[in-house]
């Protein structure tokens, strides 16, 4: 007998699927997608494109994180390693090896994937809390290596990252051009994430999340699926980090620090673990909060802590998670 019942952390609501599945979305999600698209189109006329692009990168990062936490049931505390190293490798290859936009991003993605494979292979041996602690420790190790390695530029970071061009045509030095590209990438990734979650692969992941032993008894190689999910999550995180590095034209130590890892966790928690649009909502809120508190220094950390505590105690399922439950529909 144990003191606590282990309940799945994800929001599990069941809803009958209707026939109408535009782009693979359920009706509720379709409208959320429409809303998000409209927001992407309209937002830059209201807020700074650079600020928005930062949010979008974090949305992609959170989508990657949510794939692992919300849909596979694995809580990693070391995702900064993938995001940050993706940022570093994208930045470095673009700045020093002459990689173009596409190649540099590919570099970041592959870096994330490879690192994810290594981390995953070590960490998957344990589950739950141990898994979280191990990923945290591994990421810390990466941080310390980056702190000392010459190629990261230490405290200065990797600077002078060129924006480059997209497909040789679009000049990405123009913030607006870049914005439309990044916005399109974001929307594509949301659609993609929805498809992955509802694919047979995604269904196996959810089976593993809900009851790993049952999945195993059904014949699935649970560890291997976990590793796939982990690598996918890491690769997408690396992509997101790389994108951010190109937008801001710099990669720094903050990107591989625990701060970035906990950012991903916080965003996912606030938005709603195990929801498709949770990362969108979560990023908007968390990043805006940080942006407006930034001038007040340590208040950012304090507020993040309070938000964490509040959401764990009261809004455990995150904003979309709670709304999802209330309206009995999946978001």
């Amino acid at each position: 007998m144990t003191m606590a019942d282990t309940k799945t952390m994800s929001n599990t609501t069941t809803v009958a699927t209707t026939g109408f599945q535009p782009l693979g979305f359920s009706p509720a999600r379709f409208w959320l997608m429409v809303a998000t698209t409209l927001a992407v189109i309209v937002a830059p006329f209201v807020l700074y494109p650079i600020f928005l692009m930062k949010i979008y990168c974090f949305i992609i990062f959170a989508i990657a994180y949510n794939l692992l936490l919300g849909y596979t049931g694995l809580m990693s505390f070391g995702h900064a390693a993938f995001w940050g190293m993706g940022a570093y490798l994208t930045a470095y290859s673009a700045a020093n090896w002459g990689f173009g936009f596409e190649m540099a991003l590919l570099m970041g993605t592959v870096t994330g994937a490879v690192l994810g494979l290594i981390f995953g292979w070590v960490a998957i041996r344990r589950t739950g809390l141990y898994f979280a602690m191990i990923t945290l420790a591994l990421a810390q190790m990466v941080y310390f290596i980056c702190l000392q390695a010459p190629f990261t530029g230490g405290e200065d970071g990797v600077q002078g990252v060129p924006r480059g061009t997209f497909l040789g045509i679009l000049d990405l030095r123009n913030d607006w051009t870049l914005y439309w590209l990044v916005g399109a990438i974001l929307l594509a990734i949301i659609i993609l994430s929805n498809r992955v979650v509802h694919s047979p692969f995604g269904q196996v992941l959810r089976a593993i999340r809900n009851n790993p032993n049952r999945a195993k008894s059904l014949g699935y190689n649970v560890d291997r699926y976990k590793l796939y999910a982990f690598v996918m999550s890491a690769a997408l995180s690396g992509f997101a980090g790389g994108l951010k590095a190109i937008i801001f034209q710099i990669a720094t130590l903050t990107d591989v620090s625990t701060i970035a890892s906990t950012e991903a966790v916080l965003i996912t928690l606030v938005g709603g673990i195990g929801t498709i649009f949770g990362p969108v909502v979560g990023s908007m809120i968390v990043l805006s909060l940080e942006h407006y508190l930034a001038p007040y220094g340590p208040w950012v950390m304090f507020t993040q802590g309070i938000v964490f505590v509040f959401f764990v105690l009261v809004f455990r399922k995150g904003l979309l998670g709670e709304i999802q439950d209330y309206f009995k529909t999946k978001l």
Binding site: M1, T2, M3, A4, D5, T6, K7, T8, M9, M75, V122, A123, R125, R126, G128, L129, Y130, A132, M133, I134, L136, A137, L138, Q140, M141, F144, I145, L147, Q148, T258, T262, V265, L269, G297, P298, W299, V300, M301, F302, T303, Q304, G305, I306, V307, F308, V309, V312, L313, R316
Partner: protein, 291 residues
């Protein structure tokens, strides 16, 4: 690589000092996890608060190091009691990871608050007069204060171990870790035991903070910096083994010191490397009881 014997021994002795802090903190973390099922990310922050409490006692009331050693654990313990009752208690029925999330949030909130109040820089705390000076060990001059930390720290850890493993009170704790429902069915108020255990665990961290103050300077970041290393220590030692936590903490401190002397660049990562190796070779940790 540099194999200067004096340097190596010297760094290892200093590493042992760090090891004592790892042992004290991993001990508390392990006991709290074993009984409450909560990974107390806030453990580092209570360590930091211990140091700040010592600092404040000195600044505001002129209370020195020795009385602080007795008062601070009471203060931190009281704080821990409040935290367990108000925040952590509601999480026992949930997935264990919520405990980690909550305590992480708590750690950020508290560290943020300290930073807001005191600023980001470290504050000085003086070595008590009675422990000033150093002893010549031949290969190094060992400050009396650090020798004190090692001796007192080890005695503290061994005492806690003895209480847990060899007394009826400790038997209740161990039994409740095995099967809390049954222990309660025998007439022991287990919820109260949980609260007191959390309070005692973080009070231990607080004592560590007082002992660390003269060495590490009183710094808001000292909690989060050390807690991740302590996690690695616990993974290596194996959760559930008090003896494992103590031994592993001390050993890793020594290893860190050795590495600093021989291959300085790796000293901050060596513990994590050991963790990876142990995870591959023996996933449940060196002394771990649970699979």
């Amino acid at each position: 690589m540099d194999f200067n014997m004096n340097l190596i021994l010297g760094q290892m002795v200093l590493g042992l000092v760090n090891g004592v802090f790892y042992a004290i903190l991993s001990l508390g973390l392990s006991v709290i996890f074993g009984l409450l099922g909560v990974i107390n990310f806030a453990h580092g922050v209570f360590f930091m608060l211990g140091a700040f409490a010592a600092y404040m006692l000195g600044e505001l009331f002129g209370i020195g190091y020795w009385p602080a050693l007795l008062l601070v654990p009471l203060i931190i313990g009281a704080l821990g009691l409040v935290v367990e009752v108000t925040l952590i208690r509601s999480l026992y029925k949930l997935d264990h990871l919520y405990g980690l999330l909550l305590t992480m949030g708590l750690a950020f909130a508290i560290e943020g608050l300290i930073r807001i109040t005191f600023g980001p820089q470290g504050l000085p705390y003086n070595i008590p007069d009675s422990l000033r000076g150093a002893i010549n060990l031949g290969f190094m001059f060992l400050p009396y204060y650090r020798a004190w930390v090692v001796v007192a720290g080890i005695i503290l850890c061994v005492t806690v171990w003895l209480v847990i493993e060899r007394t009826p009170l400790g038997a209740k704790l161990r039994a409740a870790t095995d099967n809390p429902q049954m222990v309660q069915a025998f007439g022991i108020n287990v919820p109260v035991m949980l609260t007191l255990t959390y309070a005692a665990g973080v009070a231990l961290a607080g004592i560590g903070g007082v002992m660390a103050a003269p060495i590490m300077s009183v710094d808001p970041a000292m909690g989060t910096n050390i807690v991740i290393v302590v996690f690695a220590v616990v993974v290596i030692g194996g959760m559930g083994s008090i003896f494992g936590s103590i031994l592993t903490g001390l050993a890793l401190g020594l290893l860190e010191g050795f590495t600093k002397a021989v291959f300085a660049e790796a000293s901050s990562t060596v513990i994590f490397v050991v963790m990876v190796i142990v995870l591959i070779a023996r996933p449940r940790g060196l002394f771990g009881k649970m699979a």
